[in-house]
Amino acid sequence: MWMKTHLDRLDAWFNAVGKKLEGKTMVIHSDLVGALAFIAFSLCMLGLMPSQIAVTETGDINAQTFPKLLLEIILVLSLAILCKEVVKLLLKKPCATVEIALLTEVHAATILCLFVLYLVLLKPLGFIFSSIVFSLLMTAYFRVRNLSYYLIGTAAAVLIGALFQFVLHVRLP
């Protein structure tokens, strides 16, 4: 009874937060952001290249050649996208955009937090127990009230652990 009341309260709180976020969207310039991200990535990697890839050969073709070429292609193509988008913005032409629903992103972030928690728990709890905890939390995330779903998740965690350990001979944490 006590548990049910608390679950109902938690459910009501989730509903309230969900309602607040429902319909809230954010528009981002997908091409612009994507191009900037890849420019930053390629410049960063090109800058780090001398310290990360030591050249031991004497010729022009060495361990740096291929990654350098790839980073330069990424940089040039990203710059091309960036220029195209900037010109579009200046000419006030429609740009490539994506609409991001905040509620969907909060859901994705929650799942990501659950992944990280699962990873953190792997060593102290071991694979099977951390999998059970994750499975229960993930089922709760789906706001399931049916107890059998929780039992299926728990049984699956034990079975998968046993399968990898005893059938595939993987030494799980």
Binding site: S30, D31, V33, G34, F38, M45, L48, Q52, I53, A54, V55, T56, E57, G59, D60, I61, N62, A63, T65, F66, P67, L70, L71, I73, I74, L77, S78, I81, V98, I100, T104, H107, I111, L112, F115, V116, Y118, L119, L122, K123, F127, S131, F134, S135, M138, T139, Y141, F142, V144, Y149, I152, G153, A156, A157, I160, F164, L168, V170, L172, P173
Partner: protein, 494 residues
């Protein structure tokens, strides 16, 4: 002939057939449930092949791959939601038939057409692959580099809205594959003094993040699942007249499927829509298309399964995967010491013939499973995602850990899932990243060797007739892709 008899001896072992049937069962289930994909199934179950031999592994994965194509049609017909993207063409006519109470007939046509396409595809693999392998043996390093470049460019071009974004994604995948020890010089690249990065990023770990965990991140808990009731009554029997009507579209679709399958990066969706369109153009009843045409279902399903064997031709003969699923299978081959390429048929001829003949049996067993377990598969669609999602994640974590027995790899998987999630939000395709990862070593090795041979002269990439043929193909394909995108953009503006 010697290889064929050796291959048959290797294939006819009970364990190969058991693994083949387990794969088929998994493939149909994953194909049937909307939200689960064939690529996800292959990624999740790839760790299971570590302890298996090459033929068992390949039979298992081929079972998943081929059956996934058929599985997608079940939900497309029953709930108007294609389980796989290439079942969309099947849905156009399958669902109207289902609404008329002819679901069983639609599913029978889909099953028989899928089997027909699969068998034709297996025969094409059996006859064409050894010939292509002979041709590939004459290729040198520059030709090989151009083949890799061709595959990567086509995939970059067709897997997203933008060719430029596809190329960026492909280059990103190639770049990630360079992390770790350089196989040619032994020096380390971008390892940031982290011992876990010495051997680079393992393909399976990246795949689990890019295609499995990222899908889970995208699962919105509010997404509703359609429910399937009992399959409508009726025997689902196909009459002689109906077989006659479907014969020509099915034969044409199988040829189209095989041709499209051989071209890297094209895939089953393109084959099924193209064949569907051809079937409509040659039909005496074009008005039935979209309203429950049996020819439409037959053409779409034949084509998407005719692709399966054909995609293996460039994989087994040159090491160039025809699509994303086959790219993952490449990992299973390499784990067993079989490096795809022209020498594979010379060094492991019997194993290759066992795999190719095995594909025929995969399709026959798919027919048997589909015929007798259809009602069960239809009920599987009702399994809630709330039950499936935690199970998928636990599988992913166990699979990622099993590669090197390291929790660092699980962290890497999570990072790759976030990368895939963000890139998808920004409209960057992820399939070229996969191809970049798979083809990274092969591309770099042939690129560098070619330039070393020519003292850094780039003319080597146009030095032979084969090089010129591939360059022409590359430029021609790029031209077609760019023209297609330009037309799409103009249509959008209009």
């Amino acid at each position: 002939m010697e290889y064929l008899s050796g291959g048959l001896a290797l294939l006819f072992h009970w364990s190969n057939f058991i693994w083949m049937n387990i794969g088929l069962l998994i493939g149909i289930i994953f194909g049937a449930i909307p939200g689960l994909t064939v690529i996800l199934a292959i990624v999740l179950f790839l760790p299971f092949t570590y302890t298996l031999g090459p033929i068992q592994s390949f039979m298992f994965l081929l079972g998943i791959y081929c059956a996934g194509g058929y599985g997608g049609s079940i939900s497309a017909i029953l709930i108007h939601t294609p389980g796989t993207p290439h079942a969309t063409a099947t849905m156009l006519d399958g669902y109207p038939l289902c609404k008329r109470g002819l679901a069983r007939k639609a599913m029978n046509i889909a099953l028989q057409a899928s089997t027909f396409g699969g068998v034709i595809s297996a025969f094409s693999l059996l006859f064409f692959a050894p010939q292509v392998a002979k041709l590939a043996q004459t290729m040198g390093t520059p030709e090989y580099f151009l083949v890799c470049l061709f595959g990567l460019t086509i995939i970059a071009g067709v897997s997203g809205k933008s060719l430029v974004k596809g190329i960026i994604a492909g280059c990103f995948g190639l770049f990630v594959s360079t992390v770790g020890i350089d196989p040619m010089t032994g020096c380390t690249r971008y390892i940031f003094d982290n011992i876990n990065l010495y051997s680079g990023f393992d393909l399976v770990i990246c795949l689990i993040g890019l295609f499995a965990l990222s899908e889970v991140l995208r699962k919105d808990k509010r997404s509703e699942q359609a429910k399937v009731g009992a399959i409508a009554t009726g025997s689902g029997k196909i009459t002689k007249k109906e077989y006659k009507r479907m014969a020509l579209p099915a034969i044409l679709a199988s040829v189209i499927g095989v041709i499209i399958g051989i071209i890297p990066g094209t895939g089953a969706s393109m084959a099924s829509f193209f064949s569907y369109n051809v079937a409509r153009n040659i039909s005496k009843h074009p008005e039935e298309f979209g309203n429950g045409s049996i020819e439409g279902i037959a053409a779409a399903e034949t084509a998407n399964n005719a692709v399966t064997g054909a995609t293996l031709i460039p994989l087994l003969t040159m090491g160039i995967p025809g699509d994303g699923c086959v790219a993952i299978m490449l990992g299973a081959l390499m784990i067993n010491g079989l490096t795809p390429g022209p020498n594979l048929f010379k060094d492991h001829g019997a194993v290759m013939y066992a795999i190719m003949v095995g594909l025929l049996f995969v399709n026959l067993f798919m027919f048997i499973q589909g015929k007798y377990l259809t009602s069960l598969f239809a009920r599987v669609i009702n399994v809630p995602l709330a039950v499936l999602t935690p199970i998928i994640v636990i599988f992913c974590f166990a699979g990622a850990f099993s590669v090197n027995s390291s929790t660092f790899d699980i962290g890497t998987t999570i990072v790759f899932s976030v990368i895939a999630y963000v890139l998808t939000c920004l409209d960057f395709p992820t399939i070229p990243i996969l191809l970049g990862l798979v083809l990274g070593d092969l591309t770099e090795e042939n690129f560098r060797r070619s330039l070393i041979l020519s003292d850094g002269n780039w003319d080597i990439f146009a030095s032979s007739p084969v090089c010129i043929v591939f360059l022409t193909l590359l430029v021609g394909s790029l031209g077609i892709i760019i023209y297609g995108k330009w037309r799409e953009a103009r249509k959008g503006e209009a």
